[in-house]
């Protein structure tokens, strides 16, 4: 692919802290390489701001290889920008051409309050995991491998659900700011395995309770979450979550 440079107009959400009202600031960046990642372009912009004596833009980032789920940017109306199954760090500037205007906003959800600029507080996800996303295991030496036989298809399904990196794109994309895809992935990857069997029913009820407490919306099955998930988590997991939940409340195992 041919390499080229471009000049861009960026409209970026700036907000001093959680209490600040915030607003958009417009910036010009010049000579951006088409081979840069979106975050590298932001690094260039931040250096420019620092050189001008201005406050750099705060944004979450960590691994920069698509596995940590930190880079939460809503780019031109879509979480992580226009590419399918990628995070912001995997979005490259060859998507854009000279003269483009790009609008960058933080995730918008009641349960994800803005900390500063583009950084939001996603600890609601951690509290959902704490409420049931674990299993009980015996302490001591590790078991021999393959002591617990698991069907290959179940192991694969569980693994596909466990690919969730908790980035919050599902919440950001959902018109109801619902965390159902995230929660369904966390419930599914344990519910499909024998290790998850002990807490199976209390887990799903407690995690849904916690999700509701955190202020996420409910699911309207628009499937926007699946379309925007960088790991391609399927809404079939939401189907399983619903079935697990119905099973748990019908059997009376919810307290």
């Amino acid at each position: 692919m041919e390499h080229y440079n471009m000049n861009l107009t960026l409209k970026v959400w700036r907000q001093k802290n959680a209490q600040d009202k915030g607003g958009f600031e417009t910036y010009q960046v010049k000579d951006i390489s088409s081979e840069m990642s979106f975050l590298e372009m932001f690094d260039v912009l931040n250096e420019q701001l620092i050189n001008e004596g201005k406050e750099p833009i705060t944004f979450d980032h960590d691994c920069r290889e698509g596995i940590c789920g930190a880079c939460s940017m809503h780019i031109n109306g879509r979480p992580h920008g226009p590419w399918g199954q990628t995070t912001t760090c995997q979005l490259h500037m060859r998507e854009y051409k000279n003269g483009d205007t790009i609008v960058v906003e933080p995730w918008r959800a009641k349960a994800f309050p803005v900390i500063k600029d583009l950084m939001v507080d996603r600890t609601a996800f951690d509290r959902i995991i704490q409420s049931g996303g674990y299993i009980s295991v015996d302490t001591g030496n590790a078991q021999d491998a393959n002591n617990l036989p698991i069907n290959k298809d179940k192991a694969d399904e569980s693994f596909a659900a466990a690919a969730c990196i908790g980035c919050g794109a599902c919440v950001a994309a959902c018109k109801n700011a619902s965390a159902m895809l995230f929660l369904s992935a966390k419930v599914s990857h344990l519910a499909l395995l024998p290790q998850g069997e002990v807490e199976r029913k209390t887990r799903v009820v407690n995690m849904v309770d916690q999700m509701d407490k955190e202020g996420f919306g409910s699911c309207t099955n628009t499937e926007a979450c699946e379309a925007e998930c960088p790991k391609g988590i399927s809404v079939l997991n939401i189907r399983r979550l619903n079935a697990e939940y119905i099973g748990a409340i019908m059997s009376g195992d919810d307290k």
Partner: protein, 232 residues
């Protein structure tokens, strides 16, 4: 079972929508079947018999109460969900590219439902309410074929009915599958079947309903006056 979970959790509220939604789909099957009998060229005999059977049978009268409760539950819960879900994103996006990841009708169920509700009020006022009132006061049902013929002479009414049925079609296009997904039934194996039936249902049923006012308006059906009254 903790009833609080069954009805007030985010999944519980959706279960109410799904169960009432599927009940309403079942009702639509009966409604469209009986009404489509007007197209049978037998001097509206089959239609009259079926309508009279439903109108005078105590079991269907009891089921009607269930149907009304189901509709009310579906409407009230739907509007509550719509307003609660809106509050989950207090600061809106400046740019939100919904069409990139979802269909417009899946995002507009509240709007489509409201349009159907407006149509439904008119529709019940046209047929159901006067018929039940007369049945209650005189013990006789109205001649619904003649009623349809009279009401559907008005072009504006016909257009409103067509728009109501189009809203229903889009509402079903998402709602049919969505109900099965919420009830945990849309597995990888059954999803294509549910989707296929859902799409066929969402197109065929509203089309049949649309055909009724249109047929009366353009005079494609024999006038009620040409039939001898069936004795009840």
């Amino acid at each position: 079972m903790n009833w609080k979970h069954a009805f007030t959790s985010s999944i519980g509220k959706k279960l109410v929508m799904g169960i009432t939604g599927i009940s309403l789909i079942a009702f639509l099957c009966v409604h469209v079947y009986v009404n489509a009998l007007i197209f049978v060229p037998d001097g509206y005999h089959k239609y009259e018999v079926a309508a009279h059977f439903l109108g005078s049978n105590p079991l269907t009268r009891i089921a009607e109460i269930g149907l009304l409760l189901g509709i009310i539950l579906h409407i009230v819960q739907g509007l509550m969900l719509w307003s609660q879900n809106r509050s989950k994103r207090p600061v809106k996006y400046a740019v939100y590219d919904g069409k990139a990841n979802s269909t417009w009708y899946s995002r507009s169920m509240g709007l489509l439902g409201t349009l159907i509700l407006i149509f439904l009020v008119l529709h019940l006022a046209h047929f159901w309410a006067p018929n039940r009132w007369q049945q209650l006061t005189t013990g006789h049902e109205r001649n619904l074929y003649a009623e349809m013929e009279a009401i559907f002479q008005n072009g504006i009414v016909v257009i409103v009915y067509i728009l109501g049925c189009i809203s229903l079609a889009w509402h079903l296009m998402h709602g049919f599958w969505s109900a099965f997904q919420t009830l945990g039934l849309s597995t990888a194996k059954y999803r294509p079947i549910i989707n296929g039936i859902g799409i066929a249902f969402s197109i065929l049923v509203p089309l049949l309903f649309i055909a009724m006012p249109v047929a009366f308006y353009f005079g494609w059906l024999p006038p009620a006056a040409s039939f001898t009254e069936v004795a009840h």
